[in-house]
């Protein structure tokens, strides 16, 4: 890693942290559990690193470690997104008819 790539990596990190703070502080407590499972699924992006390790055949140990990592991350990605979807489908607004009565 050269100094230039390190510096640009830190730029990315700092900007992502700032953006993350802005975006996530707007998530209402209502959706905190889906938020957790969604970020979990998203951070399963480490799959990208695992895939290269598993497929590059550097040596047997790396392949085994890579394969295990691919398995773990995929479980997170698929499980995380499926469950977030399932949860979000449950959040419903009050049926329209009832709201009219209230008014």
């Amino acid at each position: 890693m050269t100094a230039a790539t390190l510096i640009s990596a830190f730029y990315v990190f700092a900007l992502a942290a700032f953006l993350g703070y802005q975006v996530i502080s707007r998530v209402p407590p209502l959706l905190h559990t889906p938020l957790m499972s969604a970020t979990n699924a998203i951070s399963g992006i480490s799959l990208v690193g695992s895939i290269v390790t598993a497929g590059a055949h550097y040596n047997t140990v790396s392949t085994i470690l890579g394969f295990t990592a691919v398995f773990c991350s995929t479980t997170n990605v698929v499980g995380g997104f499926v469950i977030t979807d399932r949860m979000l489908r449950m959040f419903k607004r009050k049926p329209a008819a009832k709201q009219e009565i209230k008014k």
Partner: protein, 458 residues
């Protein structure tokens, strides 16, 4: 050309992840947001498969298929009440994957890495390892495989600190003098042990904070992987996850009026602390089902306050049925949700949503507290500390200053409780002794079902 395609897919994924999380600011836009994020993930994976270093797809495909099957099974069949356990487990998986990639990178280069890469790799492996075991222990506590009470012994904090210092010491040594395999693996092993020790003294009631923190660590481990592999999408996604967990843990701490240090090292809820509460006198008044049913049936407004007890009794559907019965009679029904009710952030909201409670009826602490004086009946279902008036009235209480749901301001309070025992924090709750409070003992689900029948007859 290929490199451009890969990088482009990563850029697209990063943008879509951020848009996806932005969608979560409202339940209406959340689903579409998640679809964007899913598409982004797919793009990133397809992009990665084009990577020029990949020579064989056997293990990649096997891993992808097996992982998808397990993930799909977990995603589809885990009940909503088990969401905290599932989340803890997925933190462990994510962190473990990050640790493995780090170990593999170290091994591949025989430990001879540049200073900067080694520093990032050390972070990745340490955070990954301690989050793996920490999350597994949190999972075991939530699943009831081990007791949820804090495990403490004399000199625990000193021992933990010493272990952490040793681990970090080896890490720093490896940065400047790289190449020692045995030292590296000692560091990994110590980090695995440290994860267990970190979660051991933390009680079940503090799980929302721990879950958020582990979430944060797992994310930061991913971000560190991004530094090791010089991969921006990993840095972005990992940082988003890390910060999300961090923000949540701060919110949870604030909701308990405690500092992070206190949660992590205070071993809250252990026997030593529980005696600090003021002595309570008076008796708990048990009330009859019929009285309560009549009160509720002729009330103007009823507020339900759920806690972890509702989750263990799987009573969310019964709560909704009771609410429906009341609403048919013209009673306004609201739900007051405390930020730390349950075992993870937003736990109660998800359970009630599962039972088809519209989210417009769910109220946050600040919104519902001014409503209690106009509330005829407040129904506390398996919640304890979050309605403990001592937090407000008794400065000597261990939970003093914690914002509570002020149910004692309601005209009448009904507490559904399994037995006469204390809550998870082991504190007496003066609410139970107040003249305004009536107790209904027994399994929450059963009590609620009987209440529904009684209300129908009232």
């Amino acid at each position: 050309m290929r490199t451009y395609f890969i990088e482009l897919s990563y850029l697209l994924a990063s943008v879509l992840f951020i848009l996806g999380l932005k969608g979560l600011s409202h339940p209406e836009s959340a689903k579409r947001g998640m679809h964007l994020a899913e598409f982004g993930m797919l793009m990133a994976i397809i992009g990665t498969l084009m990577h020029y270093e990949i020579v064989t797809f056997t293990w990649i495909i096997t891993g992808l298929v097996l992982g998808s099957l397990v993930g799909l099974a977990m995603g589809l069949w885990v009940p909503m009440t088990a969401m905290p356990q599932r989340t803890a487990l997925s933190h462990a998986f994510g962190a473990f994957a990050a640790a493995l990639v780090g170990i593999s990178e170290f091994y591949r280069h025989g430990g001879h890495l540049e200073t900067i890469t080694m520093a990032a790799l050390g972070f990745e492996v340490m955070l990954g390892a301690l989050t793996t075991t920490g999350s597994l222990l949190a999972f075991a506590k939530l699943q009831g495989l081990v007791r949820g009470t804090p495990f403490t012994y004399k000199g625990q904090n000193i021992f933990n600190m010493a272990l952490l210092a040793t681990t970090v010491g080896i890490f720093v040594y490896l940065i400047f003098v790289p190449g020692s395999m045995p030292l590296f693996f000692t560091m990994v092993g110590l980090a695995f042990i440290f994860g267990l020790l970190l979660v051991m003294p933390i009680g079940a009631a503090d799980m929302p904070v721990v879950m958020s923190l582990l979430n944060s660590y797992a994310g930061l481990a991913s971000a560190a992987t991004g530094f090791v592999l010089s991969n921006n999408v990993l840095i972005i996604a990992g940082t988003l996850d890390g910060f999300s967990g961090f923000i949540l843990s701060i919110l949870m701490c604030r909701a308990m009026n405690r500092s992070m240090t206190n949660v992590l090292f205070g071993a809250f809820g252990s026997a030593a602390v529980s005696t600090a509460g003021a002595e309570q006198t008076g008796t708990m008044r048990e009330v009859s089902m019929e009285d309560i049913a009549t009160q509720m049936a002729y009330a103007k407004q009823v507020v339900f306050v759920p806690g972890y007890g509702m989750a263990t009794a799987q009573a969310q559907h019964a709560v909704r049925e009771l609410a429906d019965t009341l609403e048919k009679r013209g009673v306004t029904v609201k739900y007051g949700i405390h930020p730390v009710a349950g075992r993870m952030p937003g736990h109660m909201n998800v359970l009630l949503a599962e039972a088809n409670v519209p989210y417009s009826s769910l109220y946050e602490l600040e919104q519902i507290n001014p409503e209690f004086p106009q509330t005829d009946v407040a129904v506390v279902i398996g919640a304890n500390d979050v309605v403990n008036p001592d937090a407000r009235d008794n400065p000597g209480s261990p939970i003093a200053g914690m914002p509570i749901l002020e149910v004692d301001h309601a005209k009448s309070v009904v507490v559904l409780k399994r037995g006469q025992g204390k809550g998870f924090s082991g504190l007496e709750n003066p609410l139970f002794f107040k003249p305004v409070t009536g107790m209904l003992y027994g399994d929450a689900k059963e009590t609620l079902t009987r209440l529904i029948r009684a209300v129908q007859q009232a």
